[in-house]
């Protein structure tokens, strides 16, 4: 947006930004930026802060980011207490400064969750998510062994529902927003994507049990239906994926129980 004088409006901002070294306690640092264009993205504002720090010979703030178009899931900042900031359905990199007021103080923190330790400043370690996927977030299909694609018809409503869940970008805002640090929205989304497709049926129970176990072992908390995850998910994944995860988990556990032979089970039918 351009003003009548042809110049872009700018904001003067005060920033409280988290500074932390790995394994050490952290603290907020205060900085000021005199003229941030309203068309800049939040991360471009952080770039400006970092350039200002370099000019002063100080270390920059480390933060994770990559695609800057809201799809890679790498950016991760808690802005004024809200993961990805105040606008629903938007990642930090797609949050623009026109959503802030002149003179405002903005607090910027890393994701805060037991399962996501801070690496430096605003960057955290989210490898626990990868571990959950490694334990079962896939359909086993070796390269070259797939049947002709149209041999597996998938009713459109099922395909659309799977796609809704598959929109998850694995950013971890759900965990960061949850008082319990629960990863149920993330795991629920992945389970829903794969468990409802015909291709995913063979491993349905095995997948559910394995992913839930890995999730628990990784230090994520339990879901107590706060709903914060849904409110902060940049891809608008909804709580029903958690309900369906619980349903699939129960189903798998019951089947496991009744198929018990007395020998230790690895899960699955």
């Amino acid at each position: 947006m351009v003003q009548d004088n042809g110049k872009e409006p700018t904001l003067a901002l005060k920033l409280r930004v988290w500074r932390q070294r790995r394994g050490q306690p952290g603290a907020f640092e205060e900085h000021a930026l005199p003229a941030v264009p309203t068309s800049a993205s939040f991360l471009e504002m952080m770039d400006m802060l970092n350039e200002q720090l370099i000019k002063a010979g100080k270390d920059t703030f480390a933060f994770d980011h990559d695609c800057r178009e809201g799809i890679c899931g790498m950016c991760s900042m808690t802005i004024n207490g809200m993961p990805h900031g105040p606008i629903p359905g938007v990642t930090t990199c797609q949050l623009h400064m026109r959503n802030f007021r002149d003179g405002e103080t903005i607090t910027v923190e890393p994701w805060r969750a037991r399962a996501f330790p801070v690496l430096k400043d605003l960057a955290v370690d989210r490898s626990a998510f990868d571990k959950v996927i490694q334990s079962g977030g896939f359909i086993t299909v070796r390269t070259g062994s797939a049947p002709e694609a149209n041999n597996i018809p998938v009713p459109k409503p099922i395909a659309d529902e799977a796609m809704d869940a598959a929109e998850c970008i694995g950013c971890g805002a759900c965990v960061a927003s949850c008082k319990n640090g629960s990863a149920m929205l993330f795991v629920g989304a992945k389970i829903n994507h794969l468990n409802i497709l015909p291709q995913g049926q063979a491993e349905r129970d095995r997948r559910t049990l394995a992913m839930v176990k890995t999730m628990d072992d990784a230090g994520f908390g339990n879901c107590t239906n706060y709903g914060e995850c849904q409110a902060h998910c940049p891809k608008s994944i909804t709580l029903d994926v958690i309900a369906k995860l619980n349903r699939d988990y129960l189903r798998a556990r019951v089947k496991e129980f009744f198929s018990s032979t007395g020998k230790p089970s690895k899960g699955g039918d």
């Binding site: 370099i54 018809p153 009713p155 995913g200």
Partner: protein, 642 residues
């Protein structure tokens, strides 16, 4: 430099099958004795690493991101081509091949492109089996849409995020192998050099971005799938971390770099808005299926809101100039047409540096024809993205778009087996040069990445390993590795010690101004010569005056950027030199001296070849070699989309 393309003999349609039948194999029990390094975890890297591990090899995979799922393949929006002919509209492997080689303005290797079209159908099978939620029709079968440069509907898609869904498919296959312990995954590791032992690629040196540790890794073969170099222009649609370092470091160790001047400018990006901008955002090309591109006929109307420009005062310039393809003209042609009307002073949007650089992409006709709900169903997420970035509602007023750097067709030179001229160094995906010639058609980057990773590299790398004695790989502390580790440490120490006055980003921006200005959508001799001199001066200044804050022992984003920018500076010189010496126009490479009224004018007699550059040492210009492009079954014609 020896450049043997190793194109198999026989008719085009039989080459790959004949070749596969002759490739050597490795006994399943022996495979675990070989260690394969895969650098990069995008579509090509993830697919290759997972496939190797399924076959039984020991695999290590490296990426700079915090998870392999974040590679920039994820950002592809539109779709993936495959010659399935599900729409019964006359598609076939040969037609996909013809479209792709024509789209590349006859500057790609014929046999590679044919193979790409052949395996395209297997890719869709593989992805569907993995659970990729492609769009479907009510009968449950797969849906298709049309894409630029094609007259059939052969593009498979998953809403506006096909790249993410395909990458998650490959990532899940990779994750399964990581979980099984057959792939060791090293995230937040950046490849900073290639290690050669007796002239063969035998490992890499990486920097652990979290701890700063520089380490050597020994292997029997190295597969580099590290993407393109679009960020040499500073502003591009690439992710912030995308860089040329892995391929350029391999180039410095002897690998030829082919056609660096072939860069793709995507026509539908959101225009530049200001000085502090860090990236350009693409709006999927699929929007051109239903959007109409126009500018006002009269300059006087350019500052008015679109709604105040009456229908008869609008110039739908793509429909006017290219009636048979219309708004679906290929990317290079659509981009140049947009530049042309803006250069005439008929661009729209805000003034940046005294010029309006934007054209309208108008959905009002589509909304009238289909209804807003249907347009929302097709493109809702793209409209939302546009609203986020610009603050404008594209259901009510036309989008503004302008071309931006999007993809790079050049890359490390590879033969038909995707092996570079350095034995044991294989290159897949955007990082190699082989399939797209001088211009890439929409929805074919995802196709190529997965084709290389799933269906080419597993065969050709196996053939190479069959010739290497198992267990013969060097120890990780062999003198060759120690020497490269020493080089890398010295370079890191040098960057940290200059302690000058300007930030790495300052140099990156300055680099981008030169490359986009002189080696962007239009190039000429004088400008390119000037650009080379300017880049040399900028490079010298960088090594005297760059300031890198932070330490080498922790997460140090400025150090990462400095190293990448340093390589981009050297690379930029090579790119401009390539553009200077290719005295013709073809595809995305448009030399203003060589044109027919705005259309690219090829010189097949002098330039039907790939230009391959050989590193000559620091401060020296690289040496140019050529691989002649032999067309056995293709008639070279003037590309016309009229």
């Amino acid at each position: 430099m020896k450049l043997d393309p190793k194109t198999p003999a026989g008719p085009l349609a039989d080459k790959w099958n004949n070749h596969k039948a002759k490739l050597r194999l490795v006994n399943p029990a022996n495979r675990r004795k070989y260690h394969i390094i895969v650098v990069g975890s995008g579509l090509a890297g993830s697919a290759a690493a997972a496939s190797f591990a399924e076959m039984g090899y020991e695999v290590s995979c490296f990426c700079y991101q915090d998870s392999p799922r974040r590679a920039h393949s994820i950002a592809a929006q539109g779709g993936i081509n495959a010659a399935k002919n599900y729409q019964n509209d006359g598609d076939s492997v040969r037609r996909l091949f013809q479209d792709t080689i024509k789209g590349g303005d006859y500057r790609a290797r014929e046999a590679n492109v044919y193979r790409l079209a052949q395996v395209s159908t297997n890719i869709i099978d593989q992805c569907v089996a993995q659970g990729v939620p492609f769009a479907r029709e009510y009968g449950g079968l797969l849906a298709n849409r049309s894409f630029g440069g094609a007259q059939v509907s052969r593009t498979f898609y998953a809403r506006g995020q096909t790249g993410q869904q395909l990458l998650i498919g490959a990532y899940s296959a990779l994750s399964r192998q990581i979980g099984l312990g057959t792939v060791k995954m090293y995230t937040r590791h950046e490849m900073l050099d290639l290690v050669l032992v007796d002239g063969k690629a035998k490992g890499i040196v990486t920097r652990d971005l979290v701890t700063g540790a520089v380490e050597a890794w020994s292997s029997d073969v190295v597969v580099v799938c590290t993407g393109g170099y679009g960020n040499v222009f500073y502003l591009s649609t690439n992710a912030q971390g995308c860089n040329v370092t892995a391929t350029f470091r391999a180039h410095r160790r002897g690998a030829g770099f082919a056609n660096p001047c072939y860069t793709q400018i995507h026509p539908t990006c959101i225009p530049v808005h200001g000085e502090d901008q860090s990236k350009l955002t693409l709006m999927s090309e699929s929007l051109r299926n239903d959007g109409r591109v126009w500018v006002p006929k009269n300059k006087a109307d350019c500052a008015k809101p679109a709604s105040e420009v009456p229908e008869e005062a609008r110039d739908y310039f793509l429909e006017r100039k290219y009636p048979s393809y219309g708004n679906l003209a290929p990317r290079d042609i659509a981009s140049r047409a947009a530049k042309e009307v803006c250069d005439e002073g008929r661009g729209v949007g805000q003034l940046v540096d005294g010029q309006r650089l934007g054209v309208y992409l108008d959905f009002s006709a589509a909304i009238k024809r289909l209804g807003e709900a249907e347009v929302r169903a097709r493109y809702g997420n793209l409209f939302d993205m546009y609203a986020n970035i610009t603050g404008e509602n594209a259901y009510r007023q036309p989008m503004r778009i302008f071309p931006a750097v999007h993809y790079t067709m050049g890359g490390l030179w590879v033969d038909y087996n995707l092996q570079s001229n350095v034995p044991g160094l294989f290159v897949g995906g955007e990082a190699n040069f082989s399939d797209h010639g001088a211009n890439r058609l929409g929805a074919s980057a995802l196709m190529q990445g997965l084709a290389d990773g799933y269906f080419v590299l597993p065969y050709t790398v196996t053939d190479y390993l069959a010739g290497e004695k198992s267990g013969s790989r060097p120890a990780q502390d062999a003198p060759e590795f120690q020497a490269v580790v020493k080089d890398v440490n010295a370079r890191v120490a040098k960057l940290l010690s200059i302690n000058g006055t300007k930030s790495p980003r300052y140099y990156h921006k300055a680099l981008g101004k030169i490359t986009w200005g002189q080696c962007g959508m239009a190039r000429d001799k004088a400008g390119l010569e000037q650009a080379i001199r300017d880049l040399q001066a900028l490079r010298d200044d960088f090594w005297k005056n760059v300031k890198v804050v932070g330490s080498g022992e922790a997460l140090a984003p400025e150090l990462e950027r400095a190293g990448r920018v340093a390589d981009f500076l050297d690379f930029g010189i090579m790119m401009c030199l390539d553009a200077l010496t290719r005295e013709e126009s073809c595809g995305g490479h448009f030399r203003t001296e060589y044109q027919d009224a705005g259309e690219a004018k090829r010189d097949d007699a002098a330039f039907a070849h790939a230009a391959v550059w050989e590193w000559q040492g620091d401060g020296q210009l690289p040496a140019r070699h050529i691989e002649p492009l032999v067309y056995e079954e293709t008639q070279l014609s003037t590309r016309s989309y009229k």
